[in-house]
Symmetry: C2
Subunit: 230 residues, 2 copies
């Protein structure tokens, strides 16, 4: 019986990937006279993946990769003014208001009455803390855990720290790779709520099969109804 | 009687500010034909402080501020090749090996036998975790706490989480502002070990006066001798 719910934050409680998508659109436009969009996307993604071990997740690393890829894509012809625009876009992304997903503002307080809620997110510590504070949701969570990676060992550490038994735990999130698969593997439950955009890095090939403790729902409003069956 | 020791990491256990200092020297050289060093330093520091609320601490934010300030200082004349160099310097800083300060490798294991040790550092989550792992010191610490800011409320949260009583706690670090003053104010003890460079942002005017639970030492090797008197 579920007693503790872990929530992912970006694209589960509030919009995030749409902010990146808008930045990508601006970036493609900026470089449109040099390369078709597909080539811009390819070089930027390659640059991001090469830098990920050093930069980790988050908008600052994304912005640095955008500058680096723009220099490469233009063979050094990108102007200082264009680089200034890329950096300004990064700042706008960091300053973007937190927009809750539909249903979150109603469902979360209701769940907090019957369950212990944990926020378990990854990425930039400073930015994630600012978003949690701006969301107005912090009071519903018993703890907020900001991790540099969300894999099996990281979930184990967090659940041990909070004395959470896996048969009482469900993780809710939009990423099969970061929110669902590692928790199912440990023996916990997982509820997948897809967001309409998934970052290429978070894509996984297959849905979990034959997993009695896995559900997929369309929106957070459906969560209370599926919890008793997990 | 002290039972728990909190250690700052950057410039307390391993070198950090010297890496920034070397980056500053390269940055001044890069811009030397445009401005004298003092003007380069002034504009870069102003840019960093303006961006700090959005970027937080760490090398990625520093690098973005370096690019932005270079565009401003050259009135847009900085070349893509020069910006590529700035970004490469940022990557080298992030990849720089962890160099322990003198005495750390001997003193820390000895202290870990008699005291509970906590690592309490601020900055970039991903980079700080990588440095802790690379330092070879992680096993000596009961917990590693990476915070976005080290002020009174942040220390209170950490000490509460670990069940630490303030009369049994001493914080050891190179920054009066981040390591010593907030802990003294809460009622804990503080041992200041100055590093030979202090980032301008961490400067404070005055040393704590009339504080029976404050000591200043020259190196970590002196720490075991002062602990019984705190």
């Amino acid at each position: 019986m579920i007693k503790i719910i872990g929530f992912d934050a970006d694209d589960t409680l509030w919009h995030n990937e749409n902010i990146f998508e808008r930045a990508h659109e601006g970036y493609r436009l900026l470089l449109a006279r040099h390369h078709p969009a597909i080539e811009v996307d390819r070089v930027l993604f390659t640059t991001e993946m090469r830098n990920l071990p050093l930069y980790g997740y988050g908008i600052k690393g994304f912005t640095l990769s955008c500058v680096e890829a723009a220099i490469e894509l233009t063979q050094g012809q990108v102007s200082a003014q264009e680089i200034r625009e890329i950096i300004a876009t990064g700042r706008e992304m960091l300053a973007h208001p937190v927009e809750l997903l539909a249903g979150v503002a109603d469902v979360l307080p209701a769940l907090a009455r019957d369950y212990r809620l944990l926020l378990i997110t990854k990425g930039d510590l400073h930015h994630q803390e600012r978003k949690v504070a701006a969301s107005g949701l912090a009071a519903h969570f018993q703890a907020v855990e900001i991790l540099s990676e969300k894999d099996g060992p990281a979930y184990e550490r967090v659940l041990r720290r909070h004395g959470v038994a896996l048969d009482e735990f469900v993780m809710v999130g939009n990423s099969l790779k970061s929110d669902i698969l590692p928790v199912l593997e440990l023996g916990g439950a997982g509820v997948h709520i897809p967001y309409h955009i998934t970052w290429q890095h978070e894509n996984v090939e297959a849905m979990p099969a034959d997993q009695p403790r896995f559900r997929r729902i369309e929106s957070l409003a459906e969560l209370p109804a599926v919890l008793p069956s997990l």
